[in-house]
């Protein structure tokens, strides 16, 4: 269930970026045009591929993509909320990256462009809420009145 939700959230986030921050989406497409990403996020892998300025999410092809990003919803949320640095996530084995130096450098740049665009999208808060809702580990801390 979570796997499907995460993939759907990735699809929704990219669609929101294309719609609400097209300049950032175009830069993202340019950065990742030659770097398909195999994403393994709490489940079986899928591939994010940009071609002709647009993206596709595909089932993993035989052999997969050369650049692999493996993580989980809790780590993604922690990174997106600024509670965890990418490097710390990798050192804590919560984020696995594999690829050429150039490809990983492009991935890092792409992540920055994605974040810079996402904060400009009106859809982002609702998507983050969906991501939080997909995690049962978040506890509410009631505020004494």
């Amino acid at each position: 269930m979570r796997r499907r939700e995460l993939r759907a959230l990735v699809a929704s986030a990219l669609a929101a970026l294309a719609r609400e921050a097209p300049g950032h989406y175009a830069r993202l497409a340019e950065l990742l045009a030659r770097t398909p990403l195999q994403l393994e996020l709490d489940g079986p892998p899928f591939v994010l591929r940009f071609a002709g300025g647009a993206h596709r999410l595909e089932p993993r092809a035989a052999g997969g993509a050369g650049t692999v990003v493996r993580s989980d919803a809790a780590t993604i949320l922690a990174v997106l909320e600024g509670e965890l640095e990418l490097v710390d996530a990798a050192l804590a084995d919560r984020l696995f990256l594999r690829g050429s130096v150039e490809a990983l450098s492009r991935f890092e740049s792409a992540l920055g462009v994605f974040a810079d665009g996402a904060v400009r999208c009106a859809s982002t808060p609702a998507l983050l809420d969906e991501l939080r809702a997909s995690l049962a580990t978040l506890e509410e801390t009631p505020c004494p009145s």
């Binding site: 300049g23 600024g82 974040a115 904060v119 808060p125 801390t141 505020c143």
Partner: protein, 343 residues
């Protein structure tokens, strides 16, 4: 270039402040202009910052708790959750709201995750003032309405801790103007609100520079005493020097996702700012020791990628000198704001 301060004039009764506020501190909603209503509270254990902003609509809520550090959020407000009308102070930004009743502001603040909530009454203690247009960059100006000292009473909840405030020193301004985030400007700003015997004094410092901070467009030190504006020193009457570098591991960045954007996690904030302002017999020396800060990453407008960093730094101030024949020598809580292009 100096900042001209128009001391608001009106009836001398106590509620004259309220009348002046009602005349000037209302939402403009001018097309293509930024606008925000900003409050900060300098309590002993708690510093609170609340900013209700338009274009786009968002709420900044930050708190610094002694021993715990900074926390907070910047949250977008959906169109349907925004309730305000031009000409009125009252506004609702999602779960946060501002009203003006019985001569005082009533501020409700609530972050989406419940980690920060406040319900405060902020009662003005000084007459408000309105500046002329402050030049920021080419064709970009900002108007600044200021209530330099208020008393904040009420409750603030930060995570599991509840704080009761009783007449804590506070500051308010309302700014608007046709400028764009990412434009060719930056600023340093500070508010100093002494307590005890020195509470008759309040100070605000501002310096506007180009984005690279090679050229100063305007600077001023504004002083208030005993309910009124005492003096503004500006331009070449001021000299400012900075010292050291404020090093802070993992300073708060809001929104957190902006940590992924290059430069948003680093700021060349000084450890200390020293200001000297002098005109004839009036001399003020102000030293600000910055202790720690939180960064608000404001996305640049338009197609320009990246963010402008607005850094809110908790500071201790030392003020000494002589103004209008009165001697000043005090320490005070202070808040310093640095507007920076990321390094």
């Amino acid at each position: 270039m100096s900042v001209a301060l128009h001391q608001a004039r009106g009836p001398r009764a106590l509620d004259a402040k309220a009348a002046l506020i009602l005349q000037s501190d209302y939402w403009r909603r001018l097309p293509g202009q930024k606008e925000w209503s900003h409050f900060c509270v300098l309590g002993r254990e708690l510093t609170l910052i609340a900013n209700l902003s338009l274009a786009p609509a968002r709420v900044v809520a930050l708190a610094r708790v002694a021993g715990l550090g900074w926390l907070g959020a910047v949250e977008s407000v959906e169109r349907g959750a925004l309730e305000l009308r031009g000409g009125s102070i009252d506004a609702r930004f999602g779960a946060s709201a501002l009203r003006f009743r019985d001569g005082a502001y009533q501020l409700e603040l609530a972050t989406r995750d419940g980690s920060l909530a406040a319900r405060l009454e902020l009662r003005p203690r000084l007459r408000p003032a309105l500046t002329s247009s402050i030049p920021l960059a080419r064709a970009a100006t900002m108007k600044w309405f200021v209530v330099p000292r208020l008393e904040a009473s009420g409750h603030v909840c930060v995570r599991e801790r509840s704080f009761a405030l009783e007449r804590a020193p506070a500051y308010h301004d309302h700014d608007w103007g046709p400028f764009r985030w990412g434009g060719d400007f930056s600023w340093e700003w500070a508010v100093v609100l002494p307590e005890g015997d020195a509470a008759e004094w309040s100070f605000v410092f501002q310096r506007i520079s180009d984005r690279a901070r090679h050229r100063t467009l305007s600077q001023g030190l504004l002083a208030w005493r005993k309910g009124g504006h005492a003096l503004t020193l500006h331009g070449r009457e001021l000299s400012l020097r900075s010292e050291g570098l404020l090093r802070q591991r993992r300073a708060l960045v809001v929104p957190g996702v902006m940590r992924l954007v290059g430069g948003a996690g680093a700021t060349d904030a000084p450890r200390r700012l020293e200001l000297r302002a002098e005109r004839g017999a009036d001399v003020v020396e102000l030293a600000l020791e910055l202790e720690d800060l939180a960064r608000i990453a404001v996305p640049n407008d338009g197609e320009e990628p990246g963010a402008t960093l607005v850094c809110e730094a908790h500071a201790r101030a030392r003020v000494s000198g002589r103004l209008r024949g009165a001697r000043i020598d005090c320490e005070a809580a202070a808040l310093v704001e640095l507007n920076r292009a990321p390094a």
